[in-house]
């Protein structure tokens, strides 16, 4: 029966999460993460430890693997409240990508070695898929692993590897045979070992988040292989589809909408608060309309627990990424002259004075707007998603 009312149990859960955040999220950590800058790995690990003490460090995992067993609605509420409170982002490479692959396809030995320390905040992950000649087209990967006794020996080059310089482990998609469907294998590699050279790439914000990773006779045991040899492409596809309802980034978009309003209220243009400018106010309203529709599309996707309805994953990815880009761009615009000042992430994180003057909400806004250009590129570029919609939803 169609029932569009909100579940009172979900609202009780929201209060529980809120109370937990009030008691446990360190204010200094919240200050660092409330702005547009991204959590440092040390904040993410510390926050993971705090959540682990409550049994909440894997919100999206089933109970038998150390997760919470929460419903999708509860996970969404948790995300919303954490984002609003300024909690650092959790390690999504571990939580949404490699973790579920390990507990779904990994051996018991692998599960026992990797999952518990990850849940305690002792492992930081990076994802090594993209290569200089393989972006959205994973079939063109060239980094190769060759079996040598009980080890794989890996040689090649990965690029755009976010966070590799701070990671303790990397999961790589590498070539072990010919072709796409049967030629790729997923391997877990200790990031701190000889043969791995990590070269920083300054990103568009002038920050260091991206890396080139060069693998020169890097060894990893066969026991670190996820699932079977030659099945890596299928696993990679499964994890990209795994994101489903979360691809729209509803909590992030909600937060960005609120920040946009805050900036527009706190910025003067031609002698009055920008929010009173009818043209700019209408642009905010347009973005809000998009958000309101997108939020319900995400709810529809989440409520389809048996997968009987159409898959909206690509819809959410395209429109969620376009919305976050639109909102962050409007934020920069709303800052006016302060939108052109280059603020410092390091100064913000250290609580030191900024090199440029401006209101408290200014640092991080431009940085996030720049970073979000990647949202429509990663996880299968939006052009790929539109093609997927044509194939899957429209059956073309």
């Amino acid at each position: 029966m169609t029932d569009l009312s909100r579940d009172p149990a979900d609202e009780r859960f929201r209060n529980e999460v809120r109370a937990f955040l009030e008691d446990n999220l360190p204010p200094e950590m919240a200050r660092r993460n409330r702005q547009g800058y991204h959590a440092s790995r040390s904040d993410t690990r510390e926050w993971t430890r705090i959540l682990h003490a409550r049994g909440w460090s894997a919100p999206n995992w089933p109970v038998e693997h150390g997760g919470t067993g929460w419903t999708l609605a509860q996970q969404a509420i948790f995300d919303e409240e954490c984002t609003a409170a300024g909690a650092p982002l959790l390690d999504i490479f571990g939580l949404s990508m490699v973790g579920p692959l390990i507990y779904t396809y990994g051996t018991d030995d692998l599960k026992a070695r990797i999952l518990p320390p990850f849940l305690r905040g002792e492992i930081s992950w990076a994802q090594g898929f993209s290569e200089p000649n393989a972006g959205s087209d994973l079939g063109s990967l060239q980094t190769r692993a060759v079996l040598d006794g009980d080890d794989y020996v890996i040689n090649g080059r990965k690029i755009w590897t976010s966070g590799a310089h701070e990671a303790t482990m990397i999961f790589f998609l590498v070539r072990t045979g010919e072709g796409t469907r049967n030629g790729l294998t997923m391997l877990i590699v200790d990031a701190r070992q000889p043969g791995i050279a990590i070269r920083p790439i300054d990103d568009i914000r002038k920050e260091h988040s991206l890396n080139e990773v060069i693998l020169d006779d890097v060894r990893t045991p066969v026991a670190n292989r996820i699932g079977e040899e030659g099945r890596g492409w299928g696993y990679a596809k499964a994890l990209l589809e795994n994101e489903r309802a979360f691809a729209a980034e509803i909590p992030r978009n909600r937060n960005h909408l609120a920040l946009l309003r805050r900036i527009a209220r706190g910025t003067m243009r031609a002698g009055r608060p920008l929010i009173e400018d009818p043209v700019f106010a209408a642009r905010i309203a347009e973005a809000e309309v998009e958000f309101m529709a997108l939020e319900f599309l995400a709810l529809r996707a989440m409520s389809d627990t048996d997968g009987s309805g159409p898959s909206f994953g690509s819809f959410l990815k395209v429109r969620g990424s376009e919305l976050v880009q639109r909102l962050t761009q409007l934020q920069v615009e709303a800052l006016g002259d302060h939108g052109a000042y280059l603020y410092s992430e390091q100064a913000h994180m250290a609580g030191q004075p900024q090199p440029a003057p401006g209101p408290e909400f200014a640092p991080g806004v431009w940085s996030e707007a720049m970073y979000r250009r990647a949202s429509s590129i990663y996880g299968g570029a939006n052009e790929i998603q539109r093609t997927l919609i044509a194939k899957q939803y429209l059956d073309l």
């Binding site: 309101m292 709810l299 093609t387 044509a390 073309l396």
Partner: protein, 371 residues
């Protein structure tokens, strides 16, 4: 939340879809339009027999007591058939009558199919502002005397009654001071022009130059007609959005089928990525609109600020998406999309008209900036 349908809802939707498939011959629609018919009287009687005219009315008024969700599902299914019949305007007026009270057994007559009241609210200068009413009613010896004009009265040519908003006090955009009057369509002194609309339906333009009405024509409290008017307009918008959704969905899948078979450059159009992505954008707009309609339904019961806000958001969403989907369907069809006799052009014209109703999407965005 549970977005699934109950057994009764599945039956309702299946029945309406079957009806559309069996009776909505677009060629027949064109003939009906050419003959000057405002609506199909025989079809209207079928609507009544199927219970559709009674669906959302409360049981005490001879209705079936269905929910807003039931109603939206029905209208969406009928929307694919581009019905010329004023089901939505009549249902909206009936809900306003129920809220206002005082109309006797008129709602029951709606349920039976014998009465077709419609709202006559918008005026040439109102631009979708709900409280903008310049028409005036003044006390007279016989009861009331009505002066003013009402434009783009949907379903106006097929109506048996008009539910007219007129000011009995206050200034043109005040909240208080609006009263509702029931005017029979055959009132001798009513200046009424039936107007063919751009989507081939027939509306009416009304002029009152000292129209005399009895005391009993006033429905609900004097100068306190706004709640009933608000309820009626909310149902009108809900219904029009549901209709638009049905039409958008029809445009999407018709276009999908067309590009699969139409060949150019030695291959099906559907093999071109530009065409695929154009269709993917249509699909996203359609599903986001469906999501917005569900959001509206989740707050629809009862007058609230949240409902008003969501009505404005839905208006903006459907205005933008409806136009996009319709225009894109014409584009991807090429030449045939420009033909008067073809379904896709009919859908586009309907969606364009709906977009610009009640001040259009900009008016709705403006409302969203008011808080």
């Amino acid at each position: 939340m549970d977005f699934g349908l109950s057994e009764e809802q599945v039956l309702l939707v299946d029945g309406a879809r079957r009806y559309v498939e069996q009776t909505s011959d677009y060629e027949a629609r064109r003939k009906a339009v050419d003959s000057g018919e405002a609506y199909g009287a025989a079809r209207w009687q079928q609507f009544a027999e199927l219970g559709w005219l009674a669906l959302a009315l409360p049981e005490r008024h001879g209705g079936l007591g269905g929910s807003a969700v039931d109603y939206a599902l029905l209208v969406e299914a009928l929307g694919a058939g581009l019905m010329l019949e004023p089901l939505v305007p009549v249902a909206a007026a009936a809900m306003a009558l129920v809220t206002a009270g005082g109309a006797g057994d008129l709602p029951s007559a709606v349920a039976e199919g014998s009465a077709r009241p419609v709202l006559a609210h918008g005026e040439p200068g109102s631009g979708g502002l709900l409280t903008f009413v310049e028409s005036r009613a003044e006390r007279s010896a016989a009861g009331w005397r009505l002066t003013g004009a009402k434009s783009l009265v949907l379903g106006g040519a097929a109506a048996t009654h008009y539910l007219v908003s007129a000011r009995t006090s206050g200034d043109k955009a005040d909240d208080a001071g609006i009263s509702l009057f029931l005017v029979p369509a055959d009132h001798a002194a009513l200046g009424r022009r039936d107007v063919r609309l751009t989507d081939d339906s027939v509306g009416a333009h009304l002029a009152f130059t000292g129209l005399d009405l009895p005391d009993a024509a006033l429905l609900g409290p004097e100068s306190g007609g706004l709640p009933a008017l608000r309820e009626g307009m909310a149902w009108l918008q809900l219904g029009l959005h549901a209709e638009a959704l049905g039409a958008m969905d029809k445009a999407l899948w018709t276009t999908r089928d067309y590009v699969r078979t139409r060949r150019q450059f030695g291959t099906e159009l559907s093999t071109f990525q530009a065409v695929q992505h154009g269709l993917a954008d249509m699909a996203m707009e359609t599903e986001l609109s469906r999501s917005m309609l569900l959001r509206l339904l989740s707050v629809f019961d009862g007058d609230s600020a949240e409902r008003d806000r969501t009505l404005a958001a839905a208006k903006a969403q459907f205005g933008r998406s409806g136009f996009f989907v319709g225009a894109q369907a014409v584009q991807l069809h090429g030449g045939i999309g420009m033909a008067d006799e073809y379904l896709i052009g009919m859908i586009f014209k309907r969606l364009l008209l709906l977009r610009n109703l009640h001040g259009g999407p900009d008016m709705a965005l403006g409302q969203l900036t008011q808080d």
